[in-house]
């Protein structure tokens, strides 16, 4: 569906510049450019600073994970999928593991599910803090980066203390989670899944994260220039966003409360009390604000989970060699970047017959050509930054 943008202001400007006819310049933004978050390439036709036409080119980061998954066993695939969106690696594992579990008919014990939930919310915090760090940087403010990264480091330390990995935890097992080092084989049903002192450290780190949110809000949202650069820029109406398959904070900033944490049941989010952050105008500022608010909500969820973490086993009974019975399923989850889904088709072997990965960033940037048309170059950077995509998540 193609929706025409409002062209009233463009017409008036054309009238001014009609005397000097200059040919459009083709500007290649990327694949090597500081603000394309990796290897996204935009072929932009620019008239001065104004962009008349944009063609996004993707695929420079394609690693063939869907095909690779067909020649791996189920336990091996977690190490692939957490490299899709590398800033929130943990969250990528969850929908895949849940999909495999559903086909096998096993369910992870409650404690394992809660630990998964805590860690995926931590992944959300670390992903959104990266955004809090990089977005002002793209608008020219260097210092918020350090505020955000310092708090993120605390969260990553916690993730590392549990999983052993900061970016690629590879922590989920079918039917449960990996016990921490030295606590015996997976089948030993101990509760030594999170290290000693983890709960107290988490409480401490969450307070730190909230403090950082306050600091960032003061430093960034209180800045007139930041507001001038983001308010009313890159407005995305809900209907257009939905047509393009935009999801996650990008869609919620436009004023809808579509959140799979409330609408799906891949993790026990229904036992937690939290709000879905929703924006109003769908501009860059709202997308920034929604993410800031989501950090706070994630902290709220983690605090509740830490207080009420149930005891019990962390691993359901599964066969030694994982074989998934014939069938297919689709599990979707609210990842930090948006909706992530795995369409898993099994023919009964030890690996999937086909694994289709629906990644959030791919759909989110599908509307780049629409939203960037008619923008000027500084706004391109502001809009692209506010969409918070990761190229690994786009190309897979």
């Amino acid at each position: 569906m193609v929706i025409e943008q409002d062209t009233t202001f463009q017409i008036s400007e054309v009238a001014v510049s009609v005397e000097i006819e200059t040919p459009d310049m083709t500007l290649n933004i990327g694949p090597q450019h500081p603000s394309t978050h990796g290897v996204l390439r935009l072929i932009a036709k620019v008239d001065g600073e104004k962009v008349t036409d944009v063609k996004p080119v993707i695929g420079y980061m394609h690693r063939g994970y869907e095909k690779l998954a067909e020649v791996r066993t189920y336990p091996q695939i977690t190490s692939i999928v957490n490299r899709i969106d590398w800033v929130s690696g943990f969250a990528n594992e969850i929908p895949f593991i849940v999909a495999a579990e559903r086909l096998m008919g096993v369910e992870a014990p409650e404690r394992a599910q809660w630990v998964r939930l805590v860690l995926s919310e931590m992944a959300r915090i670390s992903s959104h803090l990266i955004f809090m760090a990089s977005y002002p940087l793209e608008l020219g403010a260097a210092t918020p980066l350090f505020f955000a990264l310092r708090a993120r480091e605390r969260v990553l330390d916690l993730l590392e203390s549990v999983t052993g990995g900061r970016f690629h935890p590879n922590f989920n097992r079918i039917g449960g989670i990996k016990p921490v080092y030295g606590s015996g084989p997976t089948t030993k049903k101990t509760s030594m899944d999170v290290p000693a002192g983890f709960l107290a450290e988490t409480r401490d780190a969450m307070d730190k994260v909230l403090g950082t949110c306050r600091e960032i809000e003061d430093l960034v949202a209180g800045n007139e220039i930041f507001l001038a650069r983001t308010k009313g820029i890159g407005v995305l109406p809900v209907e257009v966003g939905a047509d393009y398959g935009v999801s996650g904070p990008n869609l919620r900033a436009s004023g809808t409360d579509f959140d799979l944490r409330k609408k799906a049941d891949y993790l026990p989010y229904d036992q937690f009390d939290f709000d879905v952050a929703v924006g109003e105008n769908g501009d860059c500022y709202d997308r920034w604000l929604v993410r800031l608010q989501e950090i706070r909500e994630a902290v709220k969820i983690i605090q509740q989970a830490i207080d009420g973490l149930p005891s019990g086993p962390i691993q359901a009974k599964v066969p030694k060699v994982i074989k998934v019975p014939k069938g297919e399923t689709y599990v979707r989850a609210e990842n930090p970047k948006g909706e992530m889904g795995y369409h898993l088709i099994s023919e009964g072997g030890s690996g999937p017959y086909r694994l289709k990965i629906r990644s959030a960033s791919f759909s989110n940037i599908s509307m780049l050509a629409w939203i960037l048309e008619g923008a000027i170059i500084p706004d391109i950077i502001a809009i692209m930054g506010s969409l918070d995509f990761v190229l690994g998540d786009v190309d897979r």
């Binding site: 210092t143 800045n223 000027i376």
Partner: protein
């Protein structure tokens, strides 16, 4: 005969002073930027080179730049590309000449009747260098950076000049030395009466220096490195040095015009040493504010700068000129 010798000796000394001052100021300010930005961001900053505080970091960097290959793109307009970095530095050096450091005989390198007029004219030279660099690099990002700098020049030059007019009216002279003497005579700096002019001058100076929040010609996140994208090695160092020394010279001009220059309550104005200390202290306060801005603010858009300049700064500056003129006539 002896007169000629005196003239040439004097000239040699003056050139020597400028030749020493430019890299020295560049290094001090570059180092200050490193350390201050580090402290603003809870980092340590350079600490290894030189053993203590990393004070040799900038010298090490300078040496590194000199060793690097001087790369000229194949499609570049070679002579223009080669000479572009010289212009900002020439402009900077020419500006240092008219900054008075004391009321003594050698308190200024060259006092001109039209000192401030000269300063405003010369300070635009660096933009020509920027435009040359942008045009000759054969790089689209460079070109856009250069053109942005040119567009910026039109926006800020007018408020910059108009802000100075208030001071000139009040002092009744365009000589830099004369402006300081007028402030010394009344024993308070012009910033008291010309506060609006000072604010406008400072904002416009930031735009002239391409410092954040007006660093659109460079804009790392948009234009890669703007007009310096294709520069490397020694030529890049020229741009770098010119940027930092320009920061100082613009601050020193602002200090001279609005903050009393080398004059301060209770400090004799006929000592070159004390004068230099007072002038440096005042200038470094302004430089500190510029560095502070850089590490705090995001960047404006080019059209927002135009709006700011044409809708706010210029009307306010004109208002300031009219008010100053009216007071001058009435009082």
């Amino acid at each position: 005969m002896t007169l000629a010798i005196v003239f040439w000796a004097e000239l040699a000394i003056k050139i020597g002073i400028i030749a020493v001052a430019v890299p020295a100021i560049g290094m001090v300010l570059g180092f200050a930027e490193m350390k201050l930005s580090a402290h603003m961001q809870s980092r340590i900053g350079p600490y290894f080179a030189g053993g203590r505080f990393g004070w040799m970091q900038l010298m090490a960097d300078g040496l590194k730049f000199m060793q690097k290959e001087d790369i000229i793109p194949a499609d570049a307009d070679r002579p223009v590309f080669r000479w572009a970095p010289a212009l900002p530095l020439i402009g900077t050096m020419a500006l240092l000449v008219i900054i008075p450091i004391s009321a003594a005989e050698f308190g200024i390198i060259q006092d001109l009747e039209v000192g401030i007029f000269y300063a405003l004219a010369i300070s635009s030279l660096s933009t020509i260098g920027v435009l040359m660099a942008g045009w000759s690099s054969a790089n689209k990002y460079s070109l856009m950076g250069g053109l942005r700098a040119a567009g910026q020049l039109i926006a800020y030059e007018l408020p910059l000049v108009l802000a100075v007019v208030g001071v000139v009216i009040q002092a009744g002279t365009m000589s830099m030395q004369g402006i300081v003497e007028a402030q010394t005579a009344q024993a308070w700096p012009y910033v008291v009466t010309q506060f609006l002019g000072f604010a406008i001058f400072f904002v416009a100076a930031l735009a002239e220096l391409n410092r954040i929040p007006f660093d659109m010609p460079i804009a790392e996140s948009e234009l890669v490195m703007g007009y310096v994208t294709e520069y490397s090695g020694f030529r890049f160092l020229f741009f770098f040095l010119a940027e930092y020394v320009n920061m100082f010279t613009m601050s020193a001009i602002a200090v001279t015009l609005f903050l009393g220059g080398y004059w301060f309550w209770g400090i004799p104005t006929d000592s070159a040493l004390l004068g230099v200390i007072v002038l440096l202290a005042k200038s470094f306060v302004l430089v500190f504010i510029m560095i502070w801005f850089r590490w705090t603010f995001p960047r404006f858009r080019e059209d927002q700068l135009q709006t700011l300049a044409w809708k706010w700064l210029i009307p306010l500056a004109v208002l300031n000129v009219i008010a100053t003129g009216a007071f001058k006539v009435l009082l």
